[in-house]
Symmetry: C2
Subunit: 202 residues, 2 copies
């Protein structure tokens, strides 16, 4: 676990990576230029990038190719990781069909649902299994990441199941706080709350 | 604009609200009990809730009904707000069908897409219009919120359109930083990056 990096810094690393993708891969870029492009402070940019293996050079900046590789390495983009999705409804189906995970070395390998009309089908080319099969399939796939896209009322029981399967990391879209032991890392994305927060900021 | 509240506090207010939803509405709850339930510090909880109009009482705690109302009021849940979605693909369609926005007083009223097979249809009961009609419809709806669910390559042009329409708040799911004037508030949700961050934390 990268416990030395504050989570707020870690959250910015994909932003740098996405920005670098828009640049030609040869040449150099200064922390100031990155800061201006992303509307961040230059000192903050230097501090963030110092967590990676990239070395900025005085008056020259970062070698773009090296910085790109350092960010990819830090974020584990080159390690293969298997994830599963619980809930093959609208959001779950959208994520099953989304190609962007592979940029981070993440393969969504299976989904689980209770709907007998979905079990046994493929969504985005990925098999949908019954929730009853989850423990076995998760073990077989050696999945360490799970995405929870079930309704709020079902989310805690899915979380309990994931904990019992030894899945150490959960991305939760259901609008509630999941109870999980400290050994399990949970991140929440509450889309409606994000829109409400945005609205209260204007 | 609620400029007095740090964004990290603001982000926690929906978490308190969701937690209170699981409790009986009559009675009292202490900041300590909230802190334990949500795995947060008690001082932090008290500081966060002090931004709302809720008044905690020594040795009694918060009246749950009053705290609920104070959080709802602070987050504008009782104000009606109109939002539109750009991109009626998998994610856009899932959000058009999602019922959770109304808890925050947000109505998703229309979607815009370039696909002639989608234009003129309804998804989740919401009309899908051509992007060419967006300026007119946004004005008619008086929409102040927009959700960007288009591919990364199209997202900046959608943002430019939204800025030209005077939309002050954008929730962006495309994996890039949008350029927008300071008067426009942009929040980003990069699902793949969130999963990568989670993965790098285990």
């Amino acid at each position: 676990m990268k416990s030395d990096i504050p989570e707020t810094c870690l959250q910015r690393l994909p932003i740098y990576l996405n920005y670098l993708k828009t640049l030609p891969r040869d040449g150099y870029i200064s922390s100031g230029a990155i800061a201006r492009a992303l509307n961040l402070g230059e000192v903050l940019v230097r501090k963030d990038l110092a967590y990676t293996s990239a070395q900025g050079r005085t008056r020259v900046g970062y070698n773009i190719k090296e910085l790109y590789a350092a960010l990819e390495s830090y974020l584990g983009c080159n390690d293969k990781k298997t994830a599963v999705i619980f809930g093959a409804g609208g959001l779950g189906s959208a994520l099953l069909s989304y190609g962007g995970f592979k940029n981070y070395g993440i393969e969504i390998s299976a989904a689980f649902d209770n709907d007998i009309n979905k079990i046994g089908t493929y969504i985005g080319g990925k098999p949908v299994y019954s929730v009853q099969e989850a423990a076995e399939i998760i073990k077989k796939l050696n999945a360490k990441l799970a995405v929870v896209c079930v309704p709020a009322a079902a989310a805690q029981s899915v979380a309990d199941l994931l904990v019992s399967c030894g899945v150490p990391a959960i991305l939760n879209f259901a609008p509630l706080q999941l109870n999980a032991p400290q050994s399990v890392t949970v991140r929440n994305i509450d889309v409606a709350a994000n829109l409400a927060i945005l609205s209260s900021m204007i």
